[in-house]
């Protein structure tokens, strides 16, 4: 699924666009715990859905080869967080939806977990 399609499905606001909005997203991780993300994500080119709107999420995303981050519940990242994501070429979107609904919509649209389960 492309980044653009995900933006539409989540009715999200783009904070930092992907340098390539046809970027293919292959799987989704959803957590607020950074070590869980590093432990369980086994796939590159993932999307991270999180309520953790800070620089820790961006740094961890970079290490885990995550291409785009979604902040739920309309949490806006601060300037420092956006600037770090810009430097790392990580796209950023914000959705009003809860994490449950955001995950549910993407699952229904065919995306699966970055852990590799339920493929």
């Amino acid at each position: 699924m492309t980044f653009k399609e995900i933006v539409d499905i989540l009715e999200a606001e783009i904070v930092l666009d992907s340098d390539d909005s046809d970027t293919e997203i292959q799987s989704v991780c959803s957590t607020d715990l950074m070590s869980d993300l590093l432990h369980f994500s086994s796939m590159p080119r993932s999307l991270l859905i999180t309520g953790l709107a800070n620089t820790q999420a961006v740094r961890t995303a970079e290490i885990a080869d995550i291409k785009a981050i979604v902040f739920v519940l309309d949490k806006k990242p601060d300037k420092e967080t956006v600037e770090m994501a810009r430097q790392k070429d990580i796209a950023f979107i914000v959705t009003r939806l809860s994490r449950f609904t955001a995950c549910g919509r993407l699952y229904a649209a065919g995306l699966r977990s970055c852990t590799g389960e339920n493929r």
Binding site: M34, L38, H39, P44, N54, T55, R59, T60, A64, D65
Partner: protein, 147 residues
């Protein structure tokens, strides 16, 4: 890498400095990528060193991350001054954490750091003296891809 020489360097880490937390591992990740090491191996090295770096930031006062890359392996040693780990076996258990709530609010303290380092390393060692500090050694072998 064709050269037999090792590439090495080090980074200084400051406990509690969450602004720069992860910067050393991020830089090491790009050094490894630029050396042409395969993505899967770079990813393992990045995850293991990042967790080790974060532990110094979260649990210790100050530390040094030293790396050495040869044609065969990536070796990273993290040496810190800090409280040390009284029971390494317990600390290695998945989910065990002494991190306070404010650390958890920043996304850390899941107790998966040491298990993550071990999972992503080919050799992994922790040495610690309570009241003095901790040394973590991570070795990841670089398997030559067949031409």
């Amino acid at each position: 890498m064709s050269s037999g020489r090792a590439i090495e360097g080090s980074f200084h880490l400051t406990g509690g400095d969450f602004t720069n937390a992860g910067a050393a591992s991020s830089e090491l990740k790009s050094i490894l990528t630029n050396l042409g090491i395969s993505l899967a191996i770079v990813r393992r090295a990045a995850i293991a060193t990042f967790e080790a770096e974060m532990n110094v930031i979260i649990h210790a006062v100050a530390g040094v991350m030293y790396y050495q890359v040869t044609a065969d392996s990536i070796k990273v040693i993290l040496n810190d001054m800090g409280p040390g780990i009284p029971d390494i076996g317990l600390a290695m258990q998945e989910g065990y954490s002494t991190a306070p709530d404010w650390i958890r609010e920043m996304g850390w303290g899941a107790g998966m750091g040491l298990p993550n380092m071990k999972k992503n390393s080919d050799e992994f060692k922790v040495d610690s003296v309570v009241g003095e500090g901790t040394t973590v050694e991570i070795v990841i072998r670089i398997k030559e891809e067949s031409p």
